[in-house]
């Protein structure tokens, strides 16, 4: 196997194998997502809303989970090594920061796919939900994965310096982004008109708009989706590289054990 691929897969292997004996990690892909699904969908059905609102919430949850797991796995992988006092071994190995990011993102993507599959089955059984347009779902989820990866690059960059404090941020960031991006509502009706153009500069806003467009509650703008994703990804990559080199220079990566 190619050296670089093996190093990337090592990260995914570690994160996936850990689930077997780590109940917290297991709950992360089974318990919390299902509880979250029930909480939100029960609430929407209780309000007796139009089916399209329920479907918007379901689509939003599918996308949000994809984004969440990519970001979360990228940072938690590093944090767990830090807690285990084995982080310096990772940095002392030939793995590059890019390979760490790609490998951990892969395990995040696998977890995201697993939870999305559970959601699709459960929502079909409970609410008769079927995906209105598989292609649009695939594009939306793919770009939300990319957004999660970009977020991960930023939080990973901070994690080189701030270690477990950055882990807290990895929990907070997807929720803040979800709130700003209008996962479960229309940003045009909730946010002041002056703020909306800035919110539209987030790739997540564009991706969730695409998902919502499947049920007629959002507007897909493909150019903005690609453009914002590319710009933020480039910014995340540069930030991550800058922070890595700074951490290397200032000895933040250095403590063995």
């Amino acid at each position: 196997m190619n050296d670089s691929l093996s190093r990337m897969l090592s990260q995914a292997y570690k994160n996936i194998t850990t689930i077997r004996r780590n109940t917290f990690r297991l709950a992360d892909i089974v318990v919390w997502p299902i509880l979250y699904l029930f909480t939100l969908t029960f609430f929407v059905t209780y309000l007796g809303s139009d089916k399209s609102y329920l479907y918007m919430v379901i689509l939003g949850m599918l996308g949000w989970r994809a984004m969440y797991f990519l970001n979360m796995d990228m940072v938690s992988s590093l944090t767990e090594e830090y807690w285990a006092k084995s982080l310096a071994y990772l940095f002392a190995s030939p793995i590059s920061r890019f390979e760490i990011a790609m490998g951990t993102a892969l395990s995040g993507a696998l977890k995201g796919a697993f939870v999305i599959a559970i959601y699709l089955v459960l929502t079909n059984v409970l609410y008769g939900f079927t995906v209105p347009d598989w292609w649009l779902l695939a594009i939306g989820v793919l770009f939300l994965c990319l957004s999660g990866f970009t977020m991960g690059l930023f939080t990973l960059g901070l994690a080189y310096f701030y270690k477990e404090e950055a882990f807290n941020l990895s929990f907070i960031l997807p929720d803040v982004i979800a709130l700003l991006s209008g996962v479960y509502f229309s940003i045009d009706t909730v946010y002041p008109a002056a703020v909306v153009p800035f919110i539209r500069l987030l790739p997540t806003t564009q991706a969730f708009e695409l998902l919502k467009s499947m049920v007629g509650l959002g507007h897909a703008d493909y150019f903005m989706l690609v453009a914002t994703s590319a710009v933020w990804l480039a910014a995340g990559y540069l930030f991550n590289g800058f922070m890595y080199e700074r951490a290397r220079k200032e000895g933040k990566l250095a403590r063995l054990g």
Binding site: M1, N2, D3, S6, R7, L9, S10, Y13, K14, T17, T18, R20, R21, N22, R25, E80, E81, W83, A84, K85, S86, A88, Y89, L90, F91, A92, S93, P94, I95, S96, R248, K249, E250, G251, L253, A254, R255, L256, G257
Partner: protein, 312 residues
């Protein structure tokens, strides 16, 4: 023999808003291939900083550190493929078994035939029966052997051992020391840090004392002992200590002193006085049980170096 590690005039400062710490102040050292080289110094001496530079996770401010001719800062990837680290302070990734952990590290280094390599190392370190145990819960001794397994996975040419026996019981420490001796036989270069002077003297071909970010002295354990300035003492066990002291009175360069019952310490300006002392003792009326030169302990050598003595 090829130079495995070459450190030339390395400087490293840690800067914060409040202060600047000079961690390394022009460190230079050279380690030959196949050598066990000890780096000894108190906490905060600069050992970890130097190791971090060697493994490519810290950049020096000035100077160069090379392993087999590859720069540890600019060619970190190539260096990291040839080395590995074992630290006495590290931990194991929670929730992974011994075998799973080693599989993870084998993938990290893209080890060929990982299953066979892991099995061979586990058997070599007497851990094969514990392969399914969660690594985090191994006993200290087993855990250290597990870390050495991990350190050997990529068949490193240079192995850096950072206090590998810290916190181990006597049996486990002996086992680890035997493993380190085995590494020498395999032709690996080992850079060892330890606070255990006995261990350093026993294992190391050469030793460097470091303090305040500077190398104070380098040499074989025997050379370092030999450089220790100060008084030399001959110890005499006898039946009549007063008689011994009287016999030695008047000998040039010799001062005898009763230390306790049946024990006399004789300070000499040189061990060449031993012959004169033996002759003088022949006239002593009492029995002489033993006459021995008291070698300085390696701890004394170390402490003397830290106080600024023992210069090359």
């Amino acid at each position: 023999m090829e130079e495995a590690i070459s450190v030339q005039n390395v400087f490293k400062d840690y800067r914060s808003r409040k202060e600047t710490v000079h961690a390394l102040n022009g460190v230079s050292l050279s380690v030959k291939e196949g050598e066990i080289f000890g780096l000894l110094g108190p906490n905060g001496a600069g050992k970890t900083t130097l190791i971090s530079i060697l493994v490519g996770i810290l950049s020096p401010d000035n100077g160069s550190a090379k392993i087999f001719g590859k720069d540890c800062s600019t060619q970190a990837r190539q260096v990291q493929e040839q080395i590995n680290v074992v630290s006495g302070f590290s931990g194991a990734i929670g929730a992974l078994s011994v075998e799973e952990s080693l599989t993870y590290y084998a993938m990290l280094y893209n080890v060929g035939n990982p299953k066979e390599t892991i099995e061979r190392l586990l058997r070599q370190m007497d851990l094969y029966d514990a392969r399914d145990w969660v690594a985090e819960y191994l006993s200290s001794g087993m855990r250290q052997r597990f870390f050495i397994c991990r350190g050997l996975l990529n068949d490193p040419k240079v192995l850096i051992l950072d206090e590998p026996t810290v916190g181990l019981d006597v049996e486990s420490a002996i086992a680890v020391r035997n493993i380190i001796r085995g590494l020498r036989k395999e032709g690996r270069t080992v850079l060892l840090t330890t606070h255990n002077m006995f261990e350093a003297q026993e294992l190391c071909d050469r030793i460097a004392f470091i303090n305040g970010g500077k190398i104070l002295s380098t040499g074989t354990p025997a050379e370092l002992k030999g450089r220790l300035s100060g008084e030399r003492v001959i110890e005499i066990h006898c039946s009549e200590e007063k008689c011994v002291v009287d016999s030695l009175r008047g000998l040039k360069g010799v001062t005898a002193e009763i230390k306790s019952a049946k024990l006399v310490h004789v300070k000499v300006d040189s061990y060449s006085r031993t012959r004169d002392i033996m002759r003088a003792l022949a006239d002593c009326g009492g029995d002489i049980y033993s006459v021995s030169e008291m070698e300085p302990s390696f701890e004394e050598v170390y402490l003397n170096a830290m106080r600024g003595g023992n210069d090359e």
